[in-house]
Amino acid sequence: MDRLKTRWLIFSGLAVVVVAAYLINIKFKTEPSPATMKAYEFIETLPESSVVMFSFDHEASSLPEIQPLALALLRHAFKNDLKIIGLSLFAEGTAIGYDLMTETAAEYDKQYGVDYVFLGFKPQYISAILGMGESIRRVFPEDYLGNPTDNAPIMSGVDSYDDITMVVSIADGDRTVYWVEYAGARYGQEVMAGLTAAMITSYDPYLSSEQLYAVVGGLRGAAEYENLLDQRGGGARGMLAQSAAHLYIIALVVTGNIIYFRNRRRRGGK
């Protein structure tokens, strides 16, 4: 079969498998991983009005995977009446973070400035992370909407990592590493991560050494978290399609190898 036909066959197969699986609406019970459970238990046991910082350190390209994860974590925090300070160390994460926080806050009747605030974006992430260790106001004199940070009631008594219980970095790259290496190492700030699945193995050493408190990873992680919250969201909805896609890839790998070894045997025979 020529290369172009094989390519289109593979592409079509993937599209058919995923779309068909997505059209079938079956709910799976996804057992949470130990890391997801740890993240959930931490937020669940925090006293009311504890201040948590959410940093949206990702691009729009990973939005389909990151959004269910971010929503699950935000909903949990708002549901437990925690105070949330949002910011972004990635330009695209700014609009996304602001959108997600505002929409989720509305679900729980939370008030901007009192229950949550979105500080905005700073381009030099190392400088921002280090600067907040001394003074959050100095790094963010105004919030994303242009209001002086001092005026927000939520910021009363909050000026550095000493006043932040946990930083939750929602990332699709290496920004979380800088949170761990600068905020964590220098200022002792606890850091938790919501990551795309592709980044999970890169952060395993930090998780193992307890430099990272917990990791919730990928669409699967979002489904696990939604299961713990007893809510249905984008994570759970996509699990059948995810399973089907994985099985399709496994079938492709196995088929490719069978063809390879058969051809090798034939060439060896000749």
Binding site: T102, S127, V253
Partner: protein, 205 residues
């Protein structure tokens, strides 16, 4: 002069920021905070330089008649976002945010989604158990792919357990070694940069 001044500035600021780590004196903190602020501001200008360079190259391309329609489309997009921000601000419901939500974000996400197809194609064409190393890679990938789907858990609890064991121990060990290597290399490079031995950042004007 043209090289010595930048090297001297690099040395001064590098030593200050390194030494400050060990001091909590008021003056040291004040200098530290100021440098962090200046760093932030100067970094923002690098984007503006990049934008100017992009516009210069696009206009040059248009004048030469190379890919003209596409270059015009990019420039229109570039100009549109600041215009929308000036007209309607950047809050919820603004035209700026609307453009981000309904044009930029969907296109970015879809470009990334294309990779799913190429990963599938690569899995069929390139993933061969030719050698022992390749076989180990292949088998590990298959275990992880199988272990992370809910269906596998329904068949047996062993699948996720094996997956997590592989992820948390042998895979993590290799990644840790890479991190340690990068850490040692980064420290050495940082020291070389501060001392002026490494000067690659001075090139490329």
């Amino acid at each position: 002069m043209r090289t010595k001044i930048p090297l001297l500035i690099c040395l001064i600021f590098g030593v200050i920021m390194f030494a400050q780590y060990f001091s909590s004196h008021e003056l040291a903190l004040s200098v530290y905070n100021s440098i962090l602020e200046w760093w932030q501001i100067i970094f923002a200008f690098t984007l503006f330089v990049g934008v100017a360079a992009f516009m210069k190259n696009s206009l040059r391309g248009i004048s030469r008649g190379k890919d003209t329609p596409y270059k015009i489309i990019s420039l229109v997009g570039l100009i549109l976002m600041p215009v929308l921000a000036i007209i309607g601000g950047t809050k919820i419901g603004s035209p700026f945010l609307w453009s981000f939500e309904n044009m930029l974000a969907p296109m970015q996400a879809t470009v990334f989604a294309l990779l799913a197809f190429f990963v599938a194609s690569a899995s069929f064409r390139g993933f061969r158990a030719r050698t022992v190393s390749a076989t180990i890679l292949l088998v590990t990938a298959l275990i992880v792919l199988l272990g992370r789907i809910p269906m596998a858990e329904m068949i047996s609890e062993t699948f996720p357990k094996v997956t997590f064991w592989i992820q948390n121990y042998p895979s993590m060990a290799a990644r840790r070694a890479i991190l340690i290597g990068i850490g040692l290399g980064s420290m050495t490079t940082a020291l070389r940069v501060i001392l002026g031995i490494e000067r690659t950042y001075l090139r490329g004007e």
